[in-house]
Symmetry: C2
Subunit: 311 residues, 2 copies
């Protein structure tokens, strides 16, 4: 007699994959959309060469795959980038977030796998790109087909996306998260930060002051160093100031996105909560959605589009 | 009979030292202010622990020191920082750039040395600091005692300084140079830059567009990556855009400094020329002064103030 866990694995009809720069996350999905099991590893795109993708995937899902048929694997994210498993060309906005007019299908050594990688989306004027966020957007539209408004997707490269009539109409990427990482780890400011502690009043003040005078970013950044030397700035204030200056500058530039539309923030953890707090400081009432939930919903939405091909 | 070089060394009355984060530069000076000889090494503050400063200095000047008297050594720069040879407290602006009310005098093992380290300058509101630039300013005022106006001193941390009545009245530091280095070496933009090539029209356009809309910095930065992916942006344009966006954002924030005053840029090489070009793009006609020249003049100015103590 087999145990219930192994029996349950027999219900896996397809596998959903979120494969980003740093992490790989997989869900074993039943045909009715329930999650049977899930797993993850640190085998993100950045750690793999082209030959490394199939073994990294099999390391997590080998035991989920029956031998008598192919299991569809639907993947999104940087796995489709130039440095990924196969380069999947971008689809061009304005467009629906997920369609199979463009996709990637890497050849696999294991005959049990049928891998499909979703396309990212490009915008020509001004030039911009996304890979992975389009799947989260598809997930939101699966749950709320009538959604109209603005999405904020915080990350290393935060995206602001305008959605109308079920399409990605326009989007803008900000390097705020990467600037935060570079400045806090590699710049002269690292001496004044310790990663712990938070001064909520300082954060709100920086959001307001950058909103009023966004040009001052690089001088205000140096104030963190100068006040640490001249007036013993505490680390909690320094942490909040660095975050507040960078997010405040982004919100000033993204004002056309959030001023007159409802904003939904897609993310989880500290970074998304900071964006929400910043928008509340400026008088908005954003809604938060969990990033993993909408990613999985987006992969489901993709599977529903092609499920008939597998029957 | 000794050779002329060794004879000339007998004329060295004092030694001028510019000791920064990355480099050490020394000049052997005659009592009339002429340079007898000079030398330099890569033994900047960042490479030395406290015990390493005297050997690093002697490695360059040992043969210049007579045995029958002490030779004054006047030093400026990060050698006086907390991580330097001795920490020299800051003098407080507004003030003359160099005075001996505050200075550092490290004890030396070699009795032939009498080392004096000049103080940096702090500003309390808004908090700011400089170490080294005050000596360059003293050099400009030695040559032009009536100078009134604004100095721009490009570097890792660029300073804008307002000079009036022989005093540093106010100054502002921008992290532009450090941001340029972090973004071009460590960010996702590094894939699109190659350090060579230059598109002068793109640089001018970025200066103008950031001047008009400085909030857009972090989104415009990502355009370098996006256009490289979407429309094969060339490296010369990418290089010029990164520089133009960062300097343009700085000039927008520093506008109160340069709008109605004459601007003198203190520096050398590519970075200073870019600041000059940027200001010309915005209709100003800045003057350029060589950084090493004014540093040496500032150290002379300091020596003149205390020469009587050594007679």
């Amino acid at each position: 007699m087999q145990d219930d866990g192994v029996n349950a694995l027999k219900n896996i009809a397809w596998i959903a994959v979120d494969w980003g720069t740093s992490n790989l996350r997989v869900w074993g999905m039943a045909s009715d959309g329930r999650v049977v099991t899930e797993a993850s590893s640190d085998k993100g795109m950045a750690r793999l060469d082209r030959a490394g993708f199939e073994p990294a995937l099999l390391a997590l899902v080998d035991g989920w795959l029956p031998h008598d048929r192919q299991t569809p694997v639907i993947a999104c994210g940087m796995v489709g980038a130039r440095q990924g498993w196969v380069e999947v060309p971008y689809r061009q906005a304005p467009c629906k977030p997920v369609r199979f007019d463009v996709m990637g299908s890497p050849a696999t050594g294991d005959p049990r796998l049928r891998v499909i990688i979703l396309a990212g989306i490009k915008q020509l004027e001004p030039a911009d790109v996304m890979r992975g966020e389009e799947t989260q957007i598809a997930g939101i539209l699966l749950n709320e087909p009538q959604f109209e408004g603005v999405l904020c997707l915080p990350g290393t490269h935060t995206k602001w996306v305008r959605i109308s009539a079920g399409e990605i109409v326009h989007f803008t990427t900000f390097m705020t998260g990467e600037l935060f990482n570079l400045l806090s780890r590699h710049s002269v400011l690292r001496h004044s930060l310790d990663g712990a502690g938070w001064n909520a009043l300082e954060f709100a003040n920086c959001i307001r002051s950058m909103h009023a005078a966004p040009a001052n970013l690089s001088a205000r950044l140096f104030s963190i160093r100068a006040e640490a030397l001249v007036s013993a700035l505490d680390a909690a204030t320094a942490n909040a100031r660095l975050s507040g200056l960078l997010i405040g500058a982004e919100l000033a530039a993204a004002k056309s996105h959030w001023l007159e539309a409802n904003v939904t923030i897609v993310g989880n953890g500290v970074q998304s909560e900071r964006y929400a707090q910043a928008l509340r400081t400026l008088g908005r009432s954003p809604r938060l959605l969990d990033a993993a939930d909408v990613t999985l919903a987006g992969l489901k939405s993709a599977y529903l589009q092609i499920a008939k091909d597998f029957r």
